[in-house]
């Protein structure tokens, strides 16, 4: 069975907590986590609901493999409607929280309504209670984590929490668990804070069992681990350099967005790369990277555990930032680094600590600061708006200032906290916002990697690399190499990645396994753990069903095919340097074919035939 088959439902308006059995028909159709929770959201809420109203629901959800010995199987997701995009939001996190939720006996925690006063939810196996959190409101995520641990006198409680940014309405607030793992994107933390819910703290001691076929399961999970260990990316690159293994690679292929996507290569890339994190600092004789770490159950261990130089201006005389904490991922190093033109590794690491401390998505934050920097250089924003700060590209001081005021919801930070789209609209330059459906781009420029442009344009949660990571194929040659500058074949490639990722995100495992695993490796592990026959073919149908359900939700929420587009800068302004010099993204050559391979109309609406084929 693998699922616990139990759902915890918390109505924050009434303060009531009830339990119910998991809908197993839906579990069979949508697997778990991303797919299953989205099905619940679709059935229980109106897509047109205001994301920050009590009528929106927020679901914390594990997958059937979460908490088992399958490598990386400690994931959970947060599914809700996004206040940033108005589309479906599904943000996925590692750490230890997901496993703890499963060990407490819950596949899903459904949070509805809005508490009249700040509270946190404490779950100890089958006992759950809402505890007043007036004393925690206004505290950072890190302080809140510490205080809840102290209150329960239990170091093994796992806590997911929102920071000050979410309380102040920052639209890209995250939910941080285990201090530096995050359900990062689309403002899921903003939704949580809108419900006056400060944290969810869980202690689970029941164990995860019910493996359908233990002999097959141990063989399949062993086989899976072997594949990960022997793969160059998951076995060597990621443990040694983390996702930061990509910084120099992506810069060289001319797809590293720089200074708000004005350019596609960054002269300072090597200074903020994974390799640079290993170099010993002159000042204190230490490297930025202390060690690598793993999320629950993960045999890859790509986490960066880092320090900032104690004498660096960003943390000088601030001892709370002198210890080790979650270091730079490629995405954060890019958004806070090259997208802002900043090549100061310590400054970027410190800004990343601030994002973790107050639970903010560093991708959207960095990209919005980059947009603000361009607005400043263009004269649309002045020192009058910033209160004196020269918000210039390349300024580490400006980066730290903008990060601090945004994560704490102070002054001009409140405007940055509205995201790049709203900021650029407010200051009369909407074309400078590098977003799709209101969500900021991640670290790959679609002029240098054509397929990822289509993946961004059609992503169900706005611009995102994790909805269909065609970079794997276009740059790394996984599962096979395609030309990053070609558009032929990309619609089919994007669809294949999108559907497979739906399965990965619904199973309880990490997307990074797919550097090494295909569904041929994943399906046998699901099949052995779960009852019923989980073939690759069935997984593919489930993946496509989930993707199409999300699409239908977005259409019902008011989005249309017209939203499947990219900013003009990427469609018209050609890359100035690198292998993609002279190229824009040729979305128009890919999008019609994409709709066709999806079985959608030319307006991007799934046809009745497609819906009926998928059982929707």
């Amino acid at each position: 069975m693998a699922w616990t088959r139990n759902v915890l439902r918390v109505n924050l308006t009434k303060g009531s907590i009830t339990t119910e059995p998991l809908n197993m028909q839906w579990a069979n159709d949508y697997l778990g986590q991303r797919g299953l929770a989205t099905k619940y959201l679709v059935e229980e809420t109106e897509p047109t609901v205001d994301a920050l109203s009590p009528e929106n629901k927020m679901i914390m959800t594990t997958g059937p493999l979460t908490g088992t010995m399958v490598s990386t199987a400690g994931r959970y997701s947060v599914v809700t409607k996004s206040p940033l995009t108005g589309a479906i939001a599904c943000s996925n996190s590692g750490g230890y929280f997901g496993n703890e939720m499963k060990n407490a006996g819950w596949d899903m925690v459904i949070l509805e309504g809005k508490s009249p006063k700040p509270v946190y939810l404490y779950i100890e196996n089958d006992k759950a209670e809402l505890i007043p959190a007036d004393d925690l409101w206004g505290k950072s995520a890190w302080e809140t984590d510490e205080q809840i641990h102290a209150k329960h006198q239990d170091p093994l409680v796992r806590i997911a929490v929102v920071g000050r940014a979410a309380e102040k309405g920052c639209l890209f607030s995250a939910i941080v668990n285990d201090l530096h793992r995050a359900a990062g994107r689309s403002g899921v933390g903003t939704v949580m804070a809108s419900k006056n819910l400060k944290a969810v703290a869980i202690r689970g001691t029941l164990g995860v069992g019910g493996i359908s076929d233990p002999t097959k399961f141990f063989q399949a999970s062993q086989d899976g681990k072997k594949v990960l260990a022997e793969n160059a990316v998951t076995g060597e690159g990621l443990p040694a350099l983390g996702t930061q293994v990509l910084m120099n690679v992506i810069n060289e292929v001319g797809a590293l967005p720089t200074r708000n996507h004005r350019e596609v290569q960054f002269e300072g890339a090597s200074k903020i790369s994974g390799e640079a994190m290993l170099e010993v600092r002159e000042s204190d004789g230490k490297a930025n990277l202390t060690t690598n770490g793993a999320c629950f159950g993960c045999t890859i261990a790509c986490q960066r555990i880092s320090t900032v130089d104690k004498d660096h201006f960003s943390v000088k005389d601030k001892p709370q930032y002198h210890g080790n904490s979650g270091g730079l991922e490629f995405e954060n190093a890019w958004s806070l680094g090259s997208d802002c033109g900043v090549d100061d590794l310590d400054a970027i690491t410190a800004a990343n600590f601030l994002c973790n401390e107050d639970a903010v998505d560093p991708i959207s934050l960095g990209a919005t600061i980059a947009a603000a920097m361009e607005l400043f250089e263009e004269g649309a924003i002045t020192v009058k708006d910033t209160g004196g700060m020269e918000l210039k590209f390349g300024s580490a001081e400006a980066l730290l200032w903008a990060t601090e005021v945004t994560v704490r919801g102070e002054g001009f930070g409140k405007e940055i906290g509205q995201g790049s789209k709203r900021l650029c609209e407010k200051y009369g330059r909407p074309e400078l916002s590098m977003t799709v459906k209101g969500q900021e781009f991640p670290a790959y420029d679609p002029r240098g990697i054509q397929g990822i442009g289509l993946a961004y344009a059609t992503s169900n949660r706005g611009a995102c690399h994790l909805r269909g990571y065609t970079v794997a194929s276009e740059i790394l040659g996984i599962p096979e190499k395609t030309d990053p500058l070609a558009t032929d074949g990309k619609p089919g490639l994007v669809k294949a990645f999108q559907d497979a990722t739906c399965v990965v995100d619904s199973a309880g495992i990490c997307a990074f396994t797919t550097f090494a695993w295909s569904l041929e490796d994943i399906a046998p592990q699901i099949d052995a753990a779960c009852e019923g026959d989980w073939s690759v073919e069935r997984c593919l149908v489930v993946g496509e069903r989930i993707w199409t359900m999300e699409r239908d939700y977005n259409l019902a929420a008011g989005l249309t095919g017209k939203d499947d587009t990219l900013p003009k800068r990427l469609l018209k302004d050609v890359a100035k340097t690198g292998p993609a010099e002279g190229r824009a993204n040729d979305l128009h050559k890919m999008l019609p074919e994409y709709y066709e391979v999806r079985g959608w109309t030319t307006d991007g609406v799934p046809t009745d035939e497609t819906r009926s084929r998928l059982g929707l």
Partner: protein, 157 residues
């Protein structure tokens, strides 16, 4: 030949595969809270440290037990708890200087590492060889070798 669990914290990533393997072997479910081996995270220091019973020769737990529920497995050297004899008095948990014997409120007896009868699951599950099962007489061999290597000329080291 007796073998011992050898722990090298600098190799540990904190993935808890060992805790899952241990609890599954002992309880039939993946349940880190019931694992006999525990991983401790020292966040500020950036270090993960596995810790479990070292199977003392003169075992405090064994001597403290009033009902002789802890016995030596001659083949493995492990000090094993006989569940049927254990009365759950917890004196052994007080006697152990390292805290590696613990009470299990579900079973109402104490639990500790028994080396899985000579084939420890934690060592097999560890993806980074932070936990290995080695010749008891030479558990320091790798560390000796590393120090010995310091004698090599610098350009060969």
């Amino acid at each position: 030949m007796l073998r011992s669990l050898q722990i090298e914290p600098e190799k540990c990533t904190g993935c808890l595969q060992c805790e899952m393997a241990c609890s599954y072997q002992a309880e039939g479910v993946f349940n880190p809270s019931k694992s006999r081996i525990k991983i401790f995270t020292f966040h500020d220091e950036g270090r993960f440290v596995p810790y479990t019973c070292t199977q003392c020769t003169e075992a405090w737990c064994l001597h403290a037990c009033p009902v002789e529920a802890i016995v030596i497995n001659e083949a493995t050297g492990a000090k094993e708890v006989i569940d049927d004899i254990c009365v759950g008095c917890k004196v052994c948990t007080i006697a152990c200087p390292f805290g590696t014997v613990n009470y299990n409120q579900e079973t109402a007896v104490v639990q500790k590492c028994d080396l899985c009868g000579g084939d420890p699951e934690c060592a097999k599950a560890c993806p980074t060889q932070a936990i290995t099962y080695v010749d008891s007489d030479h558990s320091g061999l790798e560390r000796m070798r590393a120090h010995a290597a310091q004698n090599l000329p610098q350009d060969n080291a």
